[in-house]
Amino acid sequence: MIDLSNIHVTFGKGTPLQKEALKGVNLTIEEGSFVTVIGSNGAGKSTLLGVLAGDVLANEGKVMIGSTDVTRKSTSARAGLVARVFQDPLAGSCGSLSIEENLALATRRGERRGLRSALGPRRREIFRERIAELNLGLENRMKDRMDLLSGGQRQAVSLVMATMAGSDVLLLDEHTAALDPGMAEFIMKLTQRVVSERKLTTLMVTHSMRQALDFGHRTIMLHGGEIILDVSGDSRKDLQVEDLIAMFRKMRGETLDDDALLIG
């Protein structure tokens, strides 16, 4: 479960460049729920994700993940609760380490790391099985360096890494944005499968309205640091991309000139 109450984030406080990225956001996501997040550039999507991941600490408000108050916890201190896939395929893994070494890193996410060999025979076998499930043939390349993989392959491995250790929350930060359409579709199917199999509480930020409506149980739209739309259930089922755009116009009383929002 995620519970954000009255989250305020201001960057560059007291400087001429001061920017209020989040203005009193309240958001509760039930256990096992899959929420998609949309919004134009600068709407506060990344900040919202950062507040949950620990990269951004809120100036005001309270962040609960499960039954833990993580408001002041650093990224590494709360990593046991939060799994994450980044937008940049290069960001989520270590290019200079092998596929199996990256999985070994992910297996111990949020746990103490001791002097035990990172790649014992049992672990190797588990890693191989998990990678084989991707059907990308990567199980025969476990010793290959991560930077020999394509962007899509790296994202697929990142998703597996996100599920190696238990976690309360899965954060997806536009994780298909840098991929070609075919690979993006593959990664979304994989995401869908992983989330439903493991019943993960998931927050997916996306650039595509289509994706936002096709996946998950609930969609929220951010604008100017506030949640301006929150739909789920039947009202969401009937929703079309066009409706979203119309709704967006109505609620803000502004003309929509952001191309990024229309794509998809």
């Binding site: 990224t75 590494s76 990593a79 994450r84 270590c94 890193l105 996410r109 790391r113 001791g114």
Partner: protein, 293 residues
């Protein structure tokens, strides 16, 4: 050509500096932290070991104390960088400069002689093997132990965390790795190894000198680069063996250059020769790549 004594002397010195090379490898390659502290922690290790030995402390304990002192020096650099966000290179230069004074304080004078004092090597001299072989053999055994220990560490969960910190700090934090702690740990480990090299240097050569640290970093880096040129990037164990082989080859190359009369080089040309060798080692892989493409 080199005389036997000169050759084995070069091998011995190369093995002593293999500790420096492994330390430099940990900081520069594993943590991606250009750490110049070693120019201070090498003579620090020599000074601590020499002073303790002269007052009658067991030489093995003296070497252990030298490692602790080196680890402390590395921790200071890490502290300046992590806590106060001083640029890594600058933080290490500050510690290095400070250590020059610290080393003088430790010794109370610019150099300490260890003539007739019992060292770690003393018990092995009376066993029938000639001294010229005993010394490299003794240091070599310690190097093998260090290589195996560092190798096993870097392939453990804890070591993997350190490698990840150097390769991708943002991802590491997302995986729950406290990257600040890794910098502390890595620099402490690195400088402890370098200080051990210093302690062995003092005991094999019979003295500790405050100026013996000058250029340690370049020598260590030269060994790492020569190793990489020879073995390429094929795993941690080969990289560590590369450090050792690189360090020995470097010493032999220097010895050859200085003892070849035709070149007319003097001992005082050492730093120039070192710089040229490192430059060549840096340029060679690039030339090779250029030729193949």
């Amino acid at each position: 050509m080199l005389s036997q004594i000169a050759f084995w002397g070069a091998v011995e010195l190369g093995l002593v500096f293999a500790f420096v090379a492994i330390g430099v490898f940990l900081a520069f390659r594993v943590l991606d932290f250009p750490d110049l502290t070693v120019d201070g922690s090498f003579p620090l290790g020599a000074a601590v070991a020499a002073v303790l030995i002269t007052v009658g402390i067991n030489p093995w304990l003296a070497a252990a104390a030298a490692m602790v002192a080196g680890a402390a020096a590395g921790t200071v650099t890490a502290f300046l960088n992590v806590r106060f966000r001083i640029l890594n290179l600058l933080a290490s230069i500050l510690t290095m400069i400070a250590l020059f004074s610290v080393n003088l304080r430790v010794m109370g004078k610019p150099n300490v002689a260890l003539i007739n004092a019992d060292t770690m090597l003393s018990p092995f001299f009376g066993l029938g093997l000639r001294e010229v072989y005993v010394r490299p053999l003794f240091v070599g055994v310690l190097v093998v132990i260090a290589v195996i220990a560092v190798w096993r560490f870097l392939e453990s969960d804890a070591g993997l965390a350190m490698r990840a910190t150097g390769a991708n700090p943002r991802m590491s934090r997302a995986q729950g790795i406290d990257t600040s702690w890794q910098v502390y740990l890595g620099l402490a480990l690195s400088n402890a190894l370098v200080a051990l090299g210093g302690a062995l240097f003092a005991q094999t050569n019979g003295f500790a000198d405050v100026t013996s640290g000058v250029g340690t970093i370049v020598v260590g880096l030269a060994a790492v680069i020569i190793g990489e040129t020879l073995f390429g990037a094929r795993g941690i164990l080969l990289a560590l063996i590369g450090c050792v082989v690189g360090s020995i080859l470097y010493r032999i190359a220097i010895q050859l250059a200085l003892s070849t009369d035709a070149l007319g080089l003097k001992a005082s040309d050492l730093n120039l020769v070192t710089a040229v060798l490192v430059a060549v080692a840096l340029v060679l892989p690039r030339l090779r790549r250029g030729a193949s493409s």
